[in-house]
Amino acid sequence: MNGPRVTVSAFTAVLRRDLHVFVSYRTRFASQLLTAVFSLTLFYYVSRLVHVSGFPSPDSYFAYVVVGIALVSVLYSCFSVAELVRQELVAGTFERLMLSPFGPIRGMVAMSLFPLLYSFVLGAVTLGLGALIFGLQLHWSTVPLSLPAMVLALLAFLPFGLIFAALTISTKQGSVGTSWVIALISIVGGLYFPISLLPGWAQTAAELQPFTAATEVLRHLLVDSPQEASLGEALAKLLGFAAVLLPASVYAVHRAIRYGQRRGTIIEY
């Protein structure tokens, strides 16, 4: 029996493929690094100007927002699977996944791995640059704990990307809405400012998705921000979202594929 071994090999093949494609665009990493530096610079000077109750010093707001910036790249990576599926449909390579014993569902989960890992790296680099250039104070004793917390957060975020990928397969339009959703989550997820500043209904919306909890947990572990809820409560919330949404999103992908197969449009875009 070598089933699990060949399956792992297929997952790593997709990961390696995406790495090779990424590396073939030589300036991409440098360009994203520059974007991170510009964002950090912008928010560093904004933090010098703005004095908000709840943030005792400009540095505390800067620390708050740097974690938000790092999480935005993770957020983008989770939704990128929809765009990747669209690209595969356009290039005709999705057909390869459909025709392979590995299959399209595992293929789609596998193709989300590289963006997720890359967003880890980009997030870490953003925090590192924040510390090196702008004197961000990381809370080193709890920084290692942020890694498993981040993995849990990703498991809670990934279903959103898979659902949009399912929409892309069934309607050929799903990836269009991802930028809207990411913008909305950036607002209600407390990435750039505390959700307590939002109107009541928006605060309710903030509680109905996993990003707010993940942001809070990671801020607490990375820069020792105070938490509204307990750490355990926030982690349980993330776990709950992952446990419910992951199977649901995989089922949505399965249904979308079956729908495309019945209509005969599965490999068209």
Binding site: R16, R17, T93, E95, S100, G264
Partner: protein, 259 residues
């Protein structure tokens, strides 16, 4: 409605051996059925009463199509542009569902056992799509071998075999977007055959191929038939074909008629 040169009998080696190999890889739950173990009268591939209609108000593109592929035979299906050849192949490959009827490999549909079906059937779609432009030939082959779930110890050998058999040695480290259309087609054909499928479905395989490329394809087909595989080749009427086929059919008005 099947080719008749070879009787339907599974040899001890070849297909049956491959069946055992796949079954061993997938475990008892996915035990592969050769004709000895499959439902009575099962063929390597059979299309039974296949119908497909794209729009309610239009005539069906396929209507009650029956076709069986026997061991060690090559079958040609021709037709005018838009006759439904690609639709037929996509249904046979398990990519899309028919509205009526079914496509089966050894008595099983892709719906019932997708992974097993895809291990046994390999499909070369028409055109030049399905390649990653920024990957080299070797990486493309490796990617395909791994998502085809070949055993890890087999992957390296299969890649080298494919590079040699399809005359890709000089191109092995070249990116696909820097290759000609004919070279890309050779790579696509190499990917179709490298997993040693039992059934190969080819949609206009001669597209962009020069004489040398066509000869390479012919050798691959001969090897497939030598190991008791089956071939279905679709191309438009009027394409000059030098290959011999065991059975020839035309797709007209959604139905297969002898050519």
């Amino acid at each position: 409605m099947s080719g008749s040169r070879h009787a339907v009998a599974v040899p001890e080696e070849g297909v049956a051996a491959r069946a055992d190999e796949v079954a061993a890889e997938q475990g008892p739950a996915l035990e592969l059925h050769s004709s000895a173990a499959s439902p009575a009268g099962a063929f390597p591939m059979a299309l039974r009463g296949v119908g497909k209609r794209w729009h309610k108000k239009q005539a069906p593109v396929l209507e009650g199509v029956d076709l069986t592929l026997d061991l060690g035979t090559r079958t040609w299906v021709g037709g005018r542009n838009g006759a439904g050849k690609t639709t037929l192949l996509r249904i046979a490959a398990g990519l899309i569902d028919p509205d009526r009827g079914r496509a089966q490999v050894w008595g099983y549909t892709a719906r019932e056992s997708r992974a097993r079906y895809q291990r046994l059937v390999s499909f070369l779609p028409a055109g030049d799509r399905g390649l990653y432009a920024r990957l080299t030939v070797r990486r493309q082959l490796e990617f395909w071998a791994r998502i085809a779930l070949l055993r890890r110890e087999e992957v390296g050998d299969r890649i080298e075999e494919a590079i040699e058999a399809f005359d890709l040695a000089e191109l092995a480290e070249r990116r696909v977007d820097r290759m000609s259309m004919g070279q890309r087609q050779r790579l696509r054909i190499a990917m179709t055959f490298m997993t040693r499928p039992e059934i190969v479905l080819l949609d206009e395989p001669l597209t962009s191929l020069d004489a040398e490329g066509a000869a390479v394809l012919e050798r691959a087909i001969e090897q497939l038939l030598d190991r008791h595989g089956a071939l279905l080749w679709c191309s438009p009427i009027g394409e000059r074909l030098e290959q011999e086929f065991d059975s020839r059919w035309l797709l007209e008005g959604g139905r297969l008629v002898p050519a």
